[in-house]
């Protein structure tokens, strides 16, 4: 928040916000001060619908270690899925 440095990913999918399911078009990711998680810094991920309002958001604030485990879990899931559905890791850069 204090740095205004945000990484982004284009998304195609859905997420469940406080108001229910919404389409997701983008993820905004930063390492900065969280709004809720009780830590001084966190990996903050906002899954948003750019075509919606400010409340069309699924917000996540997790520790750096949690984020590393999440990245590993996503990659592992894609590897597992590749066994049945072809190469799901194509284009993934380390």
């Amino acid at each position: 928040m204090c740095t205004w440095i945000v990484q982004t990913a284009e998304l195609n999918g859905s997420g469940k916000s406080a108001e229910g399911w919404i389409p997701l078009t983008k993820a905004n990711v930063c390492y900065d001060h969280p709004a809720h998680a009780f830590m001084e810094h966190s990996v903050n991920i906002d899954f948003v619908n750019e075509n919606g309002g400010t409340g069309d958001r699924v917000a996540v604030e997790i520790s750096a270690e949690s984020a590393r485990q999440l990245v590993s879990a996503i990659v592992a899931a894609l590897e597992e899925g590749s066994k049945e559905h072809g190469d799901l890791l194509a284009g993934l850069h380390a």
Partner: protein, 248 residues
């Protein structure tokens, strides 16, 4: 019997940058005054409950206090949702923020209860914007609490933030109080040193206090960054500084 005291705290509207209507939280002591004024610039997490409380705290200490919503144009809703949208957009433009802050100052100066003196206070990104506003002129005192990116590398500049505030130091027209945590990563101790050097070089009246055992945002009692000893000392120094420079 204690003397009667009271305050009014409410949302009002001020004319901001480009004449836009901006919501602002306004708290003032009851009574005719005269009272000094303070514009409070909210932090990056937005126009939130902490800033409501801080605005009332200044009113409790005898100030006409106003906190404009610098995220007014970025949507409505919960402060964290709006702040997330602003973060994704790279913050608010410096020109716009300064215009909104100056509009808030004009609001205070037009009040019948004013003593004619107005300061500006900000924390985090609001500390940076308070510095910019102090350099734009019109204030009688500036309080910068751990404002990051006053010192900026070229790659940190953007269309919205094209100039490092430190480069405006020559124009700073009011005494400035700076409160910083020595463990802060933004601003770092090196950033604070650079800012102090610039203020010295231009012969500005400044008072800096640097706290060991504190990082960023050590006033925020609802966050793990809170450091009670340093915060209490900081508030004391802050109100002493404002009394010195804003009393009629």
């Amino acid at each position: 019997m204690a003397d009667y005291e009271g305050m009014i705290a409410e949302i009002t509207t001020v004319k901001g940058h480009n004449g836009d209507d901006i919501s602002a939280y306004f708290a003032r002591p009851l009574g005719p005054g005269p009272f000094p004024g303070v514009v409070l610039i909210h932090h990056a997490p937005g126009w939130d409950e902490w800033y409501r409380e801080a605005t009332r705290k200044f009113a409790h200490h005898g100030y006409l206090a106003i906190s404009p919503n610098l995220y007014e144009r970025d949507g409505s809703g919960s402060p964290d949702d709006v702040a997330a949208a602003v973060r994704a957009a790279g913050g608010v433009a410096d020109d716009q923020a300064v215009g909104d802050i100056q509009g808030s100052m004009q609001f205070l100066r037009a009040l019948p209860q004013t003593n004619g003196k107005v300061g500006v206070f900000g924390t985090c990104s609001g500390g940076r914007q308070a510095y910019l506003a102090g350099c734009a002129g019109g204030f009688d005192a500036v309080v910068n609490c751990w404002g990051g990116r006053i010192v900026m590398s070229d790659d940190e500049k953007s269309e919205k933030m094209p100039v490092a505030p430190i480069d405006y130091t020559e124009n700073l027209s009011a005494p400035i109080l700076g409160l910083f945590g020595n463990d802060d990563m933004n601003p770092t101790q090196a950033h604070v040193n650079a800012l102090e050097e610039a203020l010295k070089q231009h012969g500005k009246h400044y008072e800096f206090h640097r706290y060991d055992g504190a990082g960023h945002g050590f006033f925020y009692y609802d966050r793990p960054n809170y450091r009670i000893e340093q915060a209490l000392d900081g508030w004391e120094k802050l109100f002493r500084f404002l009394e010195e420079h804003l009393a009629a």
